[in-house]
């Protein structure tokens, strides 16, 4: 498959799995306004995923629709970063997940807005407006947790200790990505990672949190290897299409 197809799947799978995970909070939020906030964020992610899958389906041009790509691939064929599939756990970890992801997406979409591929640039510009809002929302919660009660602070610190090692996986490349970088279709992801570290380090200072100085980072994001959580997500996600092939609304 082409490099562009792989790259579109990477963008789509990230948003798709993030949206699916977040929608687990639907009806379970800590209070009404936050329940609405998280499901709105989840919906934005699913919409972005849909746009990328649609484009990927046109690029592949093999009769597979965006729904086939979303619902009928096997575990090793998904190229989302491990970060997106990690469990929500408590609200501190959920907010940390969305905060980090919004910093990542903001950098990606800002860079992709200047992509030599017009369609990719258009989807990125559209999505950028949405993730900026996610960033505003979650960074304010990061601050509230860090400066709130002893318990809220401790829960956030625990979440950071538990999952920070998966952050670098967001910046893992897919097959053929270097070709797209050379063609100015995709941005240089290593450069974006350095920006990510700068932004989050500065934010952590503002939140009043110690920046994780853990040299270990989990490898193998986007290689077909997943965390043990991923299979369960797919079971739920693909249930209808597997049980009733081809079913529609």
């Amino acid at each position: 498959m082409s490099a562009l197809f792989n790259y579109l799947l990477k963008l789509a799978d990230d948003s798709f799995i993030m949206g699916q995970r977040l929608s687990e909070w639907c009806g379970e939020g800590p209070y009404l306004e936050e329940d609405i906030a998280l499901t709105n964020v989840a919906l934005d992610e699913l919409g972005q995923a849909n746009n990328f899958y649609q484009y990927a389906s046109r690029v592949a041009d093999n009769g597979k629709s965006e729904d086939d790509l979303a619902f009928l691939r096997y575990e090793h064929e998904y190229v989302n970063a491990h970060w997106t599939e990690l469990p929500n756990e408590d609200y501190a970890q959920t907010i940390l997940k969305v905060y980090v992801f919004s910093v990542y997406q903001k950098l990606m979409y800002e860079a992709l807005s200047n992509s030599a591929d017009e369609e990719l640039s258009a989807i990125a510009q559209k999505s950028l407006k949405e993730v900026k809002y996610h960033y505003t929302h979650t960074s304010s919660w990061m601050k509230i947790f860090a400066r709130g009660t002893e318990e809220s602070r401790q829960r956030l610190i625990n979440a950071i200790e538990n999952i920070w090692e998966y952050t670098k996986g967001l910046f893992a490349k897919v097959e053929g990505e270097d070709d797209l970088i050379a063609l100015n279709i995709a941005p240089n992801i290593e450069g974006l990672y350095n920006e990510f570290v700068d932004i989050t380090e500065k934010d952590f200072q503002d939140f009043g949190l110690e920046y994780p100085k853990n040299p270990f980072m989990q490898p193998k994001s986007r290689t077909g290897y997943h965390t043990e959580y991923f299979g369960y997500i797919l079971c739920e996600l693909q249930y209808m299409q597997r049980a009733y092939p081809g079913c529609t609304w």
């Binding site: 306004e33 849909n50 989807i123 559209k126 809002y133």
Partner: protein
């Protein structure tokens, strides 16, 4: 406004029925492509706006009623912005109880206090950054105490 746009402007936004899809900026272009065929170009407000499906169906239906076989094409670029809302549409929103978005505010989350659509007071507070649809946030007026929706700058 051409004849096709006149027909299309009879379609209300499914979520906010006081404004139509032309003044909201969803319909970008409508052109005749044959004797009784036409093409309507639309653009989504938000990536995931669920109203887009209904809007597409509504367009095909109303065009058919007027003797047109319409093809609906979705285009992402140029990116939809609330700046496209006409002054008239903004006033309709306000009268309906939704505070319209400020013009030209690209960083939509930073802004002046939102005016209460009912009493006009600027003494209001944000209840929630998110609301009943993707395009709105929830506020409350601290003078007349009414809660209200704010159509976010986008």
């Amino acid at each position: 406004m051409n004849n096709l746009l006149n027909i299309l402007s009879q379609i209300p936004d499914p979520e906010i029925p006081v404004i139509d899809i032309v003044e909201l900026g969803i319909v970008r272009e409508a052109k005749v492509t044959g004797e009784n065929t036409c093409e309507v170009i639309i653009t989504p407000t938000y990536s995931a706006c669920p109203a887009m499906f209904t809007i597409e169906e509504d367009i095909i239906k109303i065009m058919k009623e007027n003797g047109w076989d319409a093809k609906v094409v979705t285009k992402m670029f140029p990116i939809w912005t609330t700046d496209w809302l006409t002054d008239e549409a903004r006033e309709k929103l306000r009268a309906y109880g939704i505070t319209p978005p400020e013009k030209g505010a690209d960083e939509h989350y930073i802004g002046k206090p939102k005016k209460c659509p009912r009493c006009g007071s600027e003494h209001t507070k944000q209840i929630s950054r998110f609301g009943s649809t993707l395009c709105k946030a929830s506020y409350q007026c601290l003078d007349c105490l009414e809660p209200f929706d704010y159509f976010k700058c986008h």
